[in-house]
Symmetry: C2
Amino acid sequence: MNLLLLEDDDFVASDRVRLSGRRLKHMLEIHQAEVGDLLRVGRLGGLMGQAEVLSLSPDSTELQVQLDQPPPAKLPLTLLLAMPRPKMLRRILQHCASLGVAELILLNSYRVEKSFWQTPFLQPEQIRHNLLLGLEQARDTVLPQVRIEKRFKPFVEDQLPTLLNGKQGLLAHPGPYPACPRAVTQPLLLAIGPEGGWIPYEVDKLCQAGLQPVQLGERILRVETAVTALIGRLF
Amino acid sequence: MNLLLLEDDDFVASDRVRLSGRRLKHMLEIHQAEVGDLLRVGRLGGLMGQAEVLSLSPDSTELQVQLDQPPPAKLPLTLLLAMPRPKMLRRILQHCASLGVAELILLNSYRVEKSFWQTPFLQPEQIRHNLLLGLEQARDTVLPQVRIEKRFKPFVEDQLPTLLNGKQGLLAHPGPYPACPRAVTQPLLLAIGPEGGWIPYEVDKLCQAGLQPVQLGERILRVETAVTALIGRLF
């Protein structure tokens, strides 16, 4: 946790918060905070700055906060991801929040196991929790938008073309395609398939909707590794 | 497992292997292999190709192999990594093998907890196991070299300058440094610090040894994320 994230409910005055639970525990056990210490804080969805520890007990703490810095810019990136297996989803949510992905869309695909959609990690509070961990790590205050699309065809036919308005659309897929570009500055939608890849029908539909296939070399990467390596390369 | 890796001991003739254990289990449960099937295989440290399933039982299988393709080229990269926490080490070993890192050096640092060096994941057979998982994922046959350096100062003073012969040396570190370069083609040594970063003394010593500090933006990434994002950007 490199940033203590404050939520609206934490504020007991315009410049003062009261915290308990996970964040207090972290302050006590990891930061070993004491009264008078200055901590790096941010208001969820808002500015970042510093907070001074005014009081501290095993049950609660009060901080005086001064928020005056904007959070880092988000990447102009919508990530369209075939729903990964649950343990990997959890880490990908954290990675995406840390790396500054603006929007994440979890899409069904033929090779997505039906059971993946049953995971508790898709509950809104679990998605939010893992995104918050990523923001705290990277020092950002703005949650990525997450959408869940369980029907491939209606999404790709009816919604994807509109989503691509004003964006470059790339489909990372192994094959005889151009190499993935580097150092993109314009808004981008990047599609990454499931373990085993999109099936040919899906590749065709995604390309018809306006995505351009690109490849990343001979090596077959796990989805989690591919997401981070592609973002590193693209931005 | 996108490649079935064969070891010297598996060969019962020059073009025939007998397998049991983990790889047989994977063939039966995941590939649902049957006699006559063709599988993608590679010989550890050698060529890749195809194998035909000649026989199959719950205890062992025999394959006829034909090896005629070189493995993908390694990245010209030596990764100098402050020893990460054990669970992350395991994943980083897999990522490094998948991404094609040629050499990985695990180095002590002030902010590395002493307990990290006690992890069973540092046992040679555990390191090898996790590297093999990465090679099987990416379809590669050549194990990265892994070195363990538990003493920072003697390594950086006495060995690092020699290691840097003929290589560009980069130190990824937050600060007012040039942006990390992209699309490097020459041999590279890249140093990445522990959670919390190298201490100033260590930064000084690494720079004196010939590393050039570069930064990757405002966001503080977990070591695991930084490794993959930097490799994606650099190569």
